[in-house]
């Protein structure tokens, strides 16, 4: 048996099928992954993402520290609550993790990192923080609920105080607001609008129940994966890892090159890769016919071989899509499924945008 989140009993009571995920017992679905996927695209669903780690940073030099630690630049965060998606790199430019960092009051920052990497992340961050006198505080007592879908924000506004609801109504995308003991961020991993709510563990089950009463459907990690894939969002450990750089992972846009004198970890290697052009890139593939693309299938292209990094049936498209790492300059591709090549189209992700198909074929 793995670690349990404060919502474990809520999941079991809702009929969840629990599976191991990075050492945690997590709900894969509550009956039908497809129905849960559609509910998020059409109305609202909620996910227990308490297995992700909240890491709070404080100290006078925290901003300087993060400008060194992260490939994106926290100097872009001008106001309290502003958020940034970024990679954290190793010295070779490989991705240690992808994460969201939030600016908080008084020069403090909050990071939310992946469950599977939390221990190595915290060790890495702590090691480098020492030079800056920054304190690193992991917050295992906090739970996190993502509420996503076109009806998600309204549902959340209905379960918080009037004051917080009014603030949230004006909250911009990629910004967070604290209130009612919650930390509510207008972020997500589905391609839909909505919130990720950090809540004290002992208040999580009550918040979950109040959202359910508003018609927000419990949604498992299975649907979370098909939703993020349709939205063209990378999964750490599948689509990128320590051996791939942001430029090889479709994440060049998250690297802040200016100012040129900002010395972030991995910069030197990235600069030379940028100058030469990466030899391999991450692209989106759409299967032209029946069948299902999966991760680790061989991709045959006009420039050589590649590999799918994740793939699935895309419920919104009713066909299969994948992300694949292929030689740069690839213009045509086929994917081997059980030894037989299948024609695919190359389509720039996201495959689904604002709940609608977005194929660039």
């Amino acid at each position: 048996m793995g670690r349990q989140t404060p919502l474990y009993d809520s999941h079991v009571a809702s009929g969840a099928k629990m599976v191991d995920f990075a050492g945690w017992d997590m709900p894969i679905h509550y009956g039908s992954q497809l129905n849960e996927h559609r509910q998020v695209r059409e109305a609202a669903g909620m996910f227990d993402v308490s297995h992700m780690a909240v890491v709070d940073l404080a100290g006078a030099a925290t901003r300087d520290f993060l400008r060194h630690l992260l490939a994106n630049d926290v100097a872009k965060l001008k106001t309290t609550g502003a958020a940034l998606y970024t990679c954290m790199l190793n010295p070779a430019g490989g991705i240690k993790d992808d994460l969201i960092v939030y600016r908080r009051d008084d020069g403090a920052y909050r990071m939310v990192v992946n469950a599977g990497t939390r221990d190595k992340d915290v060790a890495w961050i702590t090691e480098h923080a020492a030079d800056y006198g920054v304190t690193v505080n992991e917050r295992p007592e906090l739970a996190m609920i993502a509420v996503q879908g076109p009806a998600a924000r309204e549902a959340v506004h209905g379960v918080v105080s009037d004051g917080l609801a009014a603030g949230l109504a004006d909250l911009k995308r990629f910004h967070a607001l604290a209130g009612d003991g919650l930390f509510v961020a207008r972020t997500g991993y589905t391609g839909e609008d909505g919130y990720e709510i950090i809540v004290p563990g002992d208040a999580a089950a009550d918040l979950w129940a109040r959202l359910a009463a508003r018609g927000v459907a419990p949604t498992g990690l299975g649907a979370r994966d098909t939703l993020r894939l349709e939205a063209g969002l990378n999964l750490y450990g599948s689509d990128m890892d320590e051996d791939t750089t942001p430029l090889e992972s479709g994440l060049g846009w998250t690297v802040a090159w200016e100012p040129a004198d900002r010395d972030f970890i991995g910069r030197e290697v990235l600069e030379s890769q940028r100058a030469a052009g990466p030899g391999r890139v991450l692209v989106g593939l759409v299967l032209d016919g029946r069948g299902v693309l999966r991760g680790h299938q061989k991709v045959l292209t006009d420039k050589g071989e590649g590999e799918t990094t994740s793939g699935s049936f895309a419920p919104t498209l009713e066909r299969s899509v994948a992300l694949a790492r292929v030689p740069a300059g690839t213009t045509s591709a086929r994917v081997e499924i059980r030894g037989r090549p299948h024609d695919v189209f190359i389509s720039r992700p996201p495959f689904v945008k604002n709940g609608q198909p977005n194929l660039q074929i």
Binding site: I28, H29, Q33, G222, T226, R290, G291, S312, F313, S320
Partner: protein
């Protein structure tokens, strides 16, 4: 607990077989199998006329999360396949022993039916997996 009809025979790899008389069987995957796979999105059917031996790969069922090979529980020749699964693979989830059937096969060694599991024996196999 999944549905395991008494009048069918089963393979340990989760196929069911219904004896239609005159040497013909209908086969598919069990309720337990569809439940473990989750929502099906693609079924690769065997070919009509294909000859099968016990244990041959005869197709693939794919759910949103995984692909699973179909293994022939008997020997014989494929007479008919359920073409409707091309458009409605979810019939295997909703009605695994009815609309979700996969193929009809003319037996070449009818006594093989006796080697398959009965409902009680298959129940034990399925329960062991659920633990």
């Amino acid at each position: 607990m999944s549905d395991i009809p008494k009048d069918l025979r089963y393979s340990p790899s989760h196929e069911w077989v219904r004896d239609e008389g005159n040497g013909v069987v209908t086969l598919g995957i069990t309720d337990h199998a569809q439940e473990s796979l989750g929502d099906l999105v693609f079924v690769e059917l065997p070919e009509v006329g294909q000859s099968l031996a016990v244990g041959d790969e005869m197709g693939v069922v794919e759910s949103v999360k995984a692909a699973s090979d179909l293994f022939s529980p008997i020997s014989g020749e494929v007479l008919e396949v359920n073409e409707t699964l091309g458009d409605t693979p979810e019939a295997v989830n909703s009605d695994p022993y009815g609309d979700g059937w996969i193929a009809k096969v003319k037996l070449s060694i009818p006594t093989e039916l006796d080697d398959l599991l009965d409902a009680d024996a298959y129940t034990a196999v399925a329960e062991e997996e659920e633990d």
